[in-house]
């Protein structure tokens, strides 16, 4: 190899060119050599333009309440090879453009740091062909992940997520804007639900909110509601014993809509601050605390030794003061509470 290096340095490309010129300068083109050859290259290009939006209503379409994603990096990647990237920034309207893109197959995505840990691209990046002198239009959506209620319950607090379910109560059932949701196999209480649109019982809804803990149990806080189908289904309460209600069936019925029957009343009291009436009901399986909130306007208040014929309500967790989580039955409306005569 040493010898080869020496040869090359002594009489390499430059040397060859020199010889060519020196010996036969008369010859046409003699002073060019293979190193001067113009090679066949693909120089055609096209353009790629588009808009980035934040899909706030979770419908995977730029519309309604969705915001443009401004000042965000957008990345153009060669589809057949993953690492070549060209970046540009979106403007205030979320608009971006790549000019002079060499023809080829590409994908366009929002940069990783735009999406962060919580956002997702609305669509999987589909490769598309940039052809000569044409502009390709790409709409990029960013959205939050949609998790089923079961997964929201398992998620660590603080994540912005979408989840969907059937509303078990109207927002106005609680002064703090709580709405309980029924999912396929679990329930969830959502707190601080936006006022509009007004969620009603039985609406099929999608909630965008932040995972949180409330009273030691999972919740979705700071919720922006979207009503997918108004009055989609009348939720059916789960028949449950008072003993199971107090433990939410061991946990799975946290935030569930349940019904208790034939339970004897004891330990009645009125909470002064709210006027809510609390009592204990026991159908023999164990006691559960029942709450009749004052603003729902219950026509009757049970006395001790009355027997509740039925009560339908939402199982809300609370701390019993000794660090244990127990559940109360928050009766949903005056019409869903009755005493045996």
């Amino acid at each position: 190899m040493d010898a080869m290096e020496r040869w090359r340095s002594a009489l390499g490309r430059a040397g060859g060119g020199f010889w060519t010129c020196a010996i036969l300068a008369v010859a046409l083109g003699a002073c060019t050599d293979a190193t001067d050859v113009e090679r066949l290259e693909i120089s055609a290009s096209g353009a790629v333009a588009g808009q980035a939006y934040l899909d706030l209503n979770g419908n995977e379409t730029a519309d309604g309440p969705d915001d443009p994603v401004a000042d965000a990096s957008v990345v153009l990647t060669a589809a057949a090879g993953g690492t070549s990237v060209i970046e540009t920034e979106t403007d205030a309207e979320g608009l971006f453009v790549f000019e002079e893109v060499p023809v080829g197959t590409y994908t366009v995505t929002l940069a990783e740091d735009v999406l962060g840990d919580s956002l997702l691209a609305v669509d999987e990046a589909e490769p598309f062909q940039v052809t000569m002198d044409t502009a390709n239009e790409v709409v990029l959506g960013a959205t939050y992940p949609e998790l089923p209620i079961e997964e929201v319950r398992e998620a660590e607090p603080g994540r912005r997520v979408f989840t969907s379910g059937i509303a078990l109560n109207p927002r106005q059932s609680f002064s703090d804007g709580r709405v309980f949701l029924e999912g396929e196999e679990a329930y969830l209480q959502a707190t601080d639900v936006g006022r509009t649109p007004a969620v009603a019982v039985g609406d099929s809804v999608r909630f965008l909110g932040r995972t949180a803990r409330r009273d030691g149990r999972p919740a979705l806080d700071d919720v922006t509601p979207i009503i997918l189908i108004p009055q989609a289904r009348v939720p059916v309460p789960r028949e449950i014993s008072t003993g199971d209600a107090a433990t939410a069936g061991g946990g799975p019925l946290d935030a569930a809509l349940v019904r208790i029957r034939s339970a004897e009343v004891s330990d009645t009291m009125t909470v002064e601050a709210t006027g809510d009436f609390h009592f204990t009901a026991d159908d023999g399986s164990g006691p559960v605390e029942v709450v009749l909130r004052a603003f729902l306007g219950f026509p009757v208040q049970p006395d001790e030794e009355d027997v509740v014929s039925q009560a339908v309500g939402l199982l809300a967790p609370y701390d019993d003061g000794s660090g244990n989580v127990r559940w109360r039955l928050l009766v949903r409306s005056a019409s869903e509470f009755g005493l045996e005569p």
Binding site: T20, L24, L28, A34, V37
Partner: protein, 1043 residues
């Protein structure tokens, strides 16, 4: 001395001349030098004798100009008169008494065996000292003059005979070939440019069947496929009788073995090999030129025959079980006959030759693999496990007609026809880049020339010819598609890329004139027009190219496969040229020559159809490319004899000349215009040998595009040397050569993704998604493409170059009993022409190594053979007339090769598994390879350098013993025995795989898919000859009658 049986005008010049004479024999084919020869004159010829006094001989000697032969004349041997040997000398003059230089005078023993040739110097003298007593024929073939044949000359011991020869017929052809001497290789070096081997060499020395290649390879700078100076054989043009003869070329193989001579050997009078274009009239070769001349002076009417035979090889390499091979028959038979149609002025020569050569080849499949393949069709399996027989047959015929209508004109026709075929009984040849394949070829060549001297000093010549070549390559095993088993490294079935049909027909016409200016030199000029019609068709992967991990995977149908449609194209190229050359001798001993040539080559502008889909996708139009190529080249040379005593000659030459556009590149660009589709598939569902690939594999159009700067290759050459006679009959020569060739066409895949998807463990970019299947790792079927709807899209750009430097030193000794010749060439060739010798488009692609490696392509050339030695000896046995022992020995360094991955590993994931370069492990990881391979030690810890290792050197020793048997039926007879390939050298297919894929481990992907690790292991068989290709030693016996 007796001169007997001759015709023509006889001048009895001495007491011992009983009869004398020379016949005006038919045409010569060699053309005369343009140099400052004596102006031609019409002459009456003839022969003369005399017993000459030693004193007279020594007066003649110093005037001699040509080194070797005249050296012999001018020194010791003539000083003392011998009574055992005779001496013949004389002056060749034209009719006006002017000496005629550069005339070949041949003294041939009628009993056979001894043929000596001398060349006259500028003073027209020639000499044969130390001729054994006996009966000789003396003939003169003056370049530019009609040949002169004397019948018989009887020499007795002590005769000192002077025969002035007067050459008849003074109408010289116009063309100059820059070779001045015949018969002495050293003498030929008195003018720069090449090496000439004359009839004696052709007749006496043993050759196998590659006549022309074998002969030319004696130059030590050509190989036996006609490759020279580090360029492939396809860049050497063969010029026969003054006009080029082109062979149709395989559409994809650049260095196929040129085994055939086209012409019966019995009529080849001389062969010359040139690196430097020796004449501006020649064109088309950026490599070298090999010229041959057919015989002109035969011994009058009559016939000569020769036949030889051999059976099995005597012995062969260990791998070949000769007991298991079938009976073999090799033979060679030829003859020539001459007819005087009109005495002295019109003659017809015909010759024909038949050759068959059979060699055994090792079986493809050994017993172990045979067991593993149990389940294949039994007949297929048997054919793969049996040794095969390669059979090369060639039948050639040649006719030559010459007439002199007048003293001022001559007409010459020559036609040749050759049919040859190469076939295999059994599974056929093993795949190797230059492996032979089944082939049938038909070649013809017709040449005619008309020459007329229109006034003193001005001669016109019209020369024209048509040649054609039609060749068909078929797979040796037509029903078996190629199947490669990666673990054992064995190929079953056909060789990928072989099936092809190719033909070309060339027509050429050259009018030219030569004007002698006397002392002011000579000027030659002319025009040329030629056209070549090409028809080419190939099926790259024919019925499919399959790769399997091992036999089990084959039986299971799991592996990689690709297929391709047939590609075909027909087109015509044309070239027009004009040339002029001026030669002058400004002072005695100094010869200068300058020449220039302009030409214009045109290729079809509408070769490919416009691939609209590709244009829309990429913006590149495949029908836009340069179609006309004007160019100007030239040459200049100087030859200087400083003492003007013929003992030392210095020479130098520089030239710039062009090859033609390679028709293979045009074929690709014209045939691959989007209509040819390929498919590849990795996975299961393959069926071999049925040749089916799952229908899910996408068939994608492929294209080849000529770049905007496409042009023919160009070679710049410079050489200088010296020839010196150091003692009587002994001379040495030293020559240095430099060549740089530009504009070699290189290949890129325009459909390579613009960026990689991942990196492998060697930090090399990977462009596709790798998948593993046993010992195979390839990109998955549909990715690794920038434009997924296209397959390979080749860009062909002339950005390749090649440089060659060489020094040749030679020694030659000629005496009456012994001729010795030896030459050693040390050279170095570097280029950036990746895969030039590998006959696979994929292999020409850049391996896509990391940036820090630099330009990997710039390295030792595929054709770099640093050391070549040739030696030959001819021993004459005076006591047994016609008996000679001749031997040739050739040595060449092994071919360089690059350490690779085992085939079937696409480490860079670009869709090709022919261009992958491994990372050479650290020294402590190399195991026994560390000790065995210096080339690996030197580069461990880096990517393998292109062509950094070298295969075993080759040795070739052959001997021919010819025994004179006296007269048989009125004709001289001789028995000969040839021992061919007497040194068994370790030639064969080398396992170039340094690393192979561990079949049992998995690919691992990490870093979110950005890093892929291919499980690799060292191949302990690296560099070994895994399949020997030596054909074994051979003994051939034959009989020669006449001649």
């Amino acid at each position: 001395m007796v001169v007997r049986g001759a015709r023509g005008i006889i001048v009895d010049a001495g007491a011992r001349v009983k009869h004398g004479g020379m016949a005006l024999a038919p045409p010569y084919v060699s053309y005369p030098p343009l140099g400052p020869t004596t102006p031609p004159r019409a002459i009456r010829a003839i022969a003369l004798q005399s017993r000459i006094r030693p004193a007279l001989a020594s007066r003649i000697a110093p005037a001699c100009a040509v080194v070797v032969l005249c050296g012999a004349l001018g020194s010791a041997p003539l000083a003392g008169q011998s009574v055992i040997s005779a001496s013949v000398s004389g002056v060749v003059t034209d009719g006006s008494g002017q000496p005629v230089p550069r005339t070949v005078v041949t003294l041939e023993a009628v009993a056979g065996g001894t043929t000596r040739e001398a060349v006259t110097g500028n003073d027209g003298t020639y000499a044969f000292p130390l001729a054994a007593p006996g009966t000789y024929e003396i003939r003169a073939e003056a370049i530019g003059y009609a040949p002169l044949v004397a019948r018989t000359l009887e020499l007795a011991g002590g005769d000192v005979v002077r025969i002035p020869l007067t050459v008849q017929m003074a109408t010289p052809p116009v063309t100059a070939i820059d070779t001045v001497a015949i018969g002495s290789t050293t003498a030929n070096r008195t003018r720069p440019g090449g090496l000439r081997l004359a009839g004696a060499d052709v007749d006496l020395l043993p050759y196998r069947f590659e006549d022309l290649g074998g002969i030319v390879a004696r130059s030590s700078t050509f190989d036996d496929a006609l490759g020279s100076q580090g360029l492939p054989s396809s860049m050497t043009v063969l010029v026969a009788d003054g006009l080029p003869v082109y062979r149709a070329e395989h559409p994809t193989r650049r260095s196929e073995h040129l085994a055939d001579a086209f012409f019966p050997r019995t009529l080849i009078s001389s062969v010359t090999a040139f690196h430097n274009a020796s004449d501006v009239e020649w064109t088309g070769a950026a490599g070298g030129y090999a010229t041959l001349s057919t015989r002109s002076g035969v011994a009058g009417p009559g016939a000569e025959m020769e036949g030889s035979w051999s059976g099995r090889p005597l012995w062969s390499s260990d791998e070949l079980d000769l007991d298991a091979t079938p009976d073999l028959l090799s033979y060679q038979a030829g003859g020539r006959a001459a007819f005087d149609i009109k005495q002295d002025t019109t003659q017809l020569l015909i010759a024909s030759e038949a050759i068959q050569h059979e060699s055994p080849l090792a079986p493809r499949v050994g017993p172990e693999l045979q067991d593993e393949l149990d389940g294949l069709d039994p007949e297929t399996l048997i054919s793969l496990a049996a040794p095969s027989v390669e059979r090369i047959s060639r039948f050639s015929g040649l006719g030559r007609f010459y007439t002199q209508p007048s003293d001022e004109s001559r007409v010459f026709f020559r036609g040749a026809l050759t049919y040859s075929e190469r076939t295999f009984d059994g599974a056929g040849p093993l795949p190797a880049p230059a492996a032979g394949v089944d082939e049938t070829s038909t070649e013809f060549s017709l040449v005619s020339s008309f020459l007329s001297r229109i006034r003193p000093g001005l001669t016109l010549e019209l020369r024209g010819g048509v040649s054609g070549s039609d060749r068909t390559f078929t797979s040796a095993v037509p029903d078996l598609p190629s199947a490669y088993l990666a673990e054992p490294g064995i190929t079953l079935g056909a060789i990928p890329g072989v099936p092809a049909e190719t033909s070309r027909t060339d027509a050429i016409f050259i009018p030219m004139a030569r004007l002698d200016l006397g002392a002011s030199g000579a000027v030659k000029g002319g025009l040329s027009a030629r056209a070549a019609r090409h028809d080419m068709r190939t099926t790259t992967w024919g019925a499919g190219d399959f790769l399997f991990s091992d036999a089990a995977a084959l039986l299971d149908g799991r592996g990689f496969a690709r297929s391709a449609d047939a590609a075909e194209a027909s087109f015509t190229t044309r070239e027009f040229g004009a040339f002029a050359q001026y030669d002058v001798t400004p002072s005695p001993g100094l010869e200068l020559s300058v020449g220039a040539r302009g030409e214009y080559e045109r290729i079809p502008a509408d070769g490919p159809a416009l691939a609209e889909a590709w244009l829309e996708t990429s913006g590149l139009a495949n029908d836009q490319y340069p179609s006309s190529f004007p160019r100007i080249g030239g040459r200049g040379s100087i030859s200087w004899d400083p003492a003007a005593d013929g003992r030392t000659r210095l020479f130098g030459v520089g030239s710039l000349h062009f090859g033609d556009i390679d028709p293979r590149n045009l074929f690709e660009a014209f045939a691959l215009d989007g209509g040819v589709e390929t498919a590849r598939h990795m996975g299961s569902g393959l069926a071999w040998p049925e040749g089916t690939i799952p229908g899910t594999a996408s068939e994608l159009p492929t294209l080849a595009l000529l770049g905007p700067d496409a042009r023919p290759p160009r070679s710049l050459r410079a050489s200088a040397g010296v020839v010196r006679e150091i003692a009587g009959g002994l001379s040495v020569h030293v020559e240095g050569n430099f060549r740089r060739t530009d504009f070699l066409m290189r290949r890129r895949d325009l459909n390579l993704p613009t960026a990689p998807t991942a990196r492998n463990q060697a930090a090399q970019d990977v462009y596709g998604t790798l998948a593993k299947n046993g010992a195979l790792v390839t990109a998955t079927g549909d990715d690794a493409r920038r434009f997924p709807e296209f397959g390979s899209v080749w860009a062909l750009d002339p950005d390749g170059w090649s440089e060659h430097r060489a020094v040749t030193a030679g020694l030659e000794y000629r005496s009456d009993r012994l001729d010795l010749y030896g030459a050693f060439t040390r050279s170095e060739t570097i280029d950036n022409w990746i895969g030039a010798a590998r006959a696979s488009a994929d292999a020409e692609l850049d391996p896509l190594l990391p940036d820090h490696v630099g330009d990997w392509a710039e390295a030792r050339s595929d054709y770099d053979v640093p050391d070549r030695v040739t030696a030959s000896a001819v021993l004459r046995v005076p006591s047994w007339p016609g008996t000679t022992v001749a031997a040739t020995y050739r040595y060449a360094s092994g071919r360089p090769f690059t350490p690779r991955y085992r085939r079937g590993t696409d480490a860079n994931g670009d869709g090709s598994f022919e261009n992958d370069v491994p990372f050479v492990p650290q020294p402590d990881e190399l195991g026994t390879l560390h000790a065995d391979w210096k080339c690996l030690r030197n580069q461990s810890g880096g990517f393998a350098v292109r062509n950094s290792c070298r295969g075993p050197a080759s040795h070739d020793l052959s001997v021919r013993i010819r025994l004179g048997l006296g007269s048989l039926g009125g004709q001289n007879a001789g028995l000969f025995v040839e021992g061919l390939n007497l040194i068994e050298s370790e030639q064969g297919i080398i396992d170039e795989a340094l690393l192979r894929v561990d079949p049992d481990a998995d690919l691992t992907v990490s870093g979110g898919g950005e890093r892929v690790t291919i499980p690799l292991e060292l191949n302990p068989d690296f560099g070994r000859v895994v399949v020997p290709t030596s054909r074994g030693r051979m003994l051939r016996v034959g009989l020669r009658i006449g001649g």
